[in-house]
Symmetry: C2
């Protein structure tokens, strides 16, 4: 799969536009936030695209809705399924609720109570399993065998990628003259979708990925020129622990201009600034982009920067400071 | 002063409109936020007027700007002064900066470092004193003697009241069909200003004040029919510790329909819900209004409610949970 081309990955601007038309009644057009004080701190003009204010508190609502709403009726009737310990599970449960079909979400037994509550709150059926990748996959297979559910992968799926890409359509309508867009990367769903839209609409805009130094498989893959998996990730950005997907890598290799990594301490500093100055609750994975500005200021000096805040789902009892 | 009438207090809808025209280039028209999930929890339709997104992170920017921008040039030339351990100090420093005049802010030596940093960040001159009310007042007098500064009281001032009232002008433009507006009360600046505007524009709207049970002087004064001072307040809502002002009481007695008190544990619950569901950082004093909905749901059932979030300045190192 490492030699897959963008064409084979099969996500075009038209797909992203079709996704937007499909999901727009069910998502928020999230606002851009701006703070003069944060501009001064960062040494550039920075606008935050606030997907922490999206339905379910993260951009994942977009991809899950596009996948679920695009199913034919017969497939949809059997429901959808995934394994997730994070925002994708809540997003898929919400999307299934919109469509009026069941969603089976395989979650590790040690998933945080708040994450389980979110899935259950959107009407998802939680199927618990042992906290190993093998157990997650075998449990998901048994769910499929039992219910005939359609699986929606959290990022390595063209429909999900197109859905996440709709974030960029809105951003480019909301702000003119962008020099660089900074996007977090974990599995690469948001990055591959947004970079496709941005490069199709305005190739002059720099697309930069930001990744935690403790889970830097995308950074290493990008530099090496082939996909290397993430082993033993160690970062507070718990939404970005996973390895880059195959489809995502094919697209990213083509459309992403630059990548930077950031240390966890910078992520915490960025979070605190966004909480206190924007008054906006940002999760660690969502603060990685502003952390990139703080840790690599020379890359942004005097430029107009759009930073994606990917989500805002945090456990207030377990803050990382 | 307890027998002062509204007419003597001297704040009219015209004053509030004039204040809005004066300050509008320098303030944010703060958004209303809404969450279906919070509606379900509260059993009513609740819209949050987000003054935590106001300049300096609190509504206090409005009153301070109206007072400072309305000064004649000769008075302004000597600068302004106040004593404050909270948001009014930052607001007055910011307003003086807009006018290009000095601001001397008397602060107790034990004021939190973040509050001092805010005042200094807006260019205010901090004058430290012992942490007693007597020391604050004598230090302020010496500042006046030295610089001839004009004093702007945080709430017991008609210009400040008119400035805070502009919050209601915006709210009533932003949302139709409001049944009740819930407003926090400490010194009473926001409550007296907003209630004047609301009752002038639409007397059918219920104006309700929300106050911490541990600092309930306004609640007691309202019930008793005369002004009783707050002694030994004990609440996490550190912006609402102070006693009601004389001008404020005269207006509130006339224009406020109902008052409720809330326990600190409900304030914390309200804060957490606003942080996690609205993704909005709200300070304890700002969460008192939503706490009123949670603690007294029968007062709001099925109604359209506007809740003022008065501010969002918190120390992330000292959260109340």
């Amino acid at each position: 799969m490492n030699d897959m081309t963008v064409a084979q990955a099969g996500v075009t601007l038209d797909d992203i536009r079709a996704a937007h038309a499909r999901i727009v009644p069910h998502i928020h057009r999230t606002p851009l936030l701006h703070s003069r004080l944060l501009d001064e701190l960062a040494g550039c003009e920075v606008h935050f695209k606030c997907e922490n204010l999206q339905k379910i508190g993260a951009f994942k609502a977009r991809g899950a809705l596009n996948a679920v709403l695009g199913l034919d009726d017969e497939t949809a009737a059997h429901g959808v399924a995934t394994h997730s310990s994070g925002n994708h599970g809540a997003a898929l449960a919400m999307a299934a609720g919109v469509r009026g079909i069941p969603a089976h979400i395989v979650m590790p037994s040690n998933a945080p109570a708040v994450k389980k509550a979110a899935v259950a709150g959107y009407g998802g059926q939680i199927v618990e399993c042992e906290p190993t990748l093998v157990a997650r996959e075998t449990t998901l297979e048994s769910v499929i065998a039992q219910h005939g559910s359609h699986v929606v992968h959290p990022y390595d799926d063209a429909r999900v990628i197109a859905g996440q890409g709709t974030t960029a359509l809105e951003l480019l309508e909301q702000l003119d003259g962008i020099d660089v867009v900074v996007i977090p990367v974990g599995g690469g769903g948001l990055l591959s979708g947004m970079s496709t839209a941005i490069k199709s609409l305005n190739p002059a805009i720099e697309v930069m990925a930001a990744e935690p130094a403790g889970a830097d498989d995308a950074f290493r893959s990008f530099g090496l020129g082939y996909l290397v998996p993430q082993e033993n990730p160690n970062t507070i950005a718990d939404g970005l622990l996973t390895s880059l997907g195959d489809l995502n890598y094919a697209i990213i290799r083509e459309h992403v201009d630059t990548m930077v990594t950031v240390e966890d301490e910078t992520i915490i500093e960025a979070m605190k600034l966004q909480w206190t100055r924007l008054k906006s609750v940002v999760e660690p994975s969502g603060a990685v982009t502003f952390a990139a500005l703080l840790e690599h200021p020379e890359r942004f000096r005097g430029r107009r920067v759009a930073c994606v805040i990917s989500g805002g789902n945090v456990d207030l009892e377990k803050l990382p400071w």
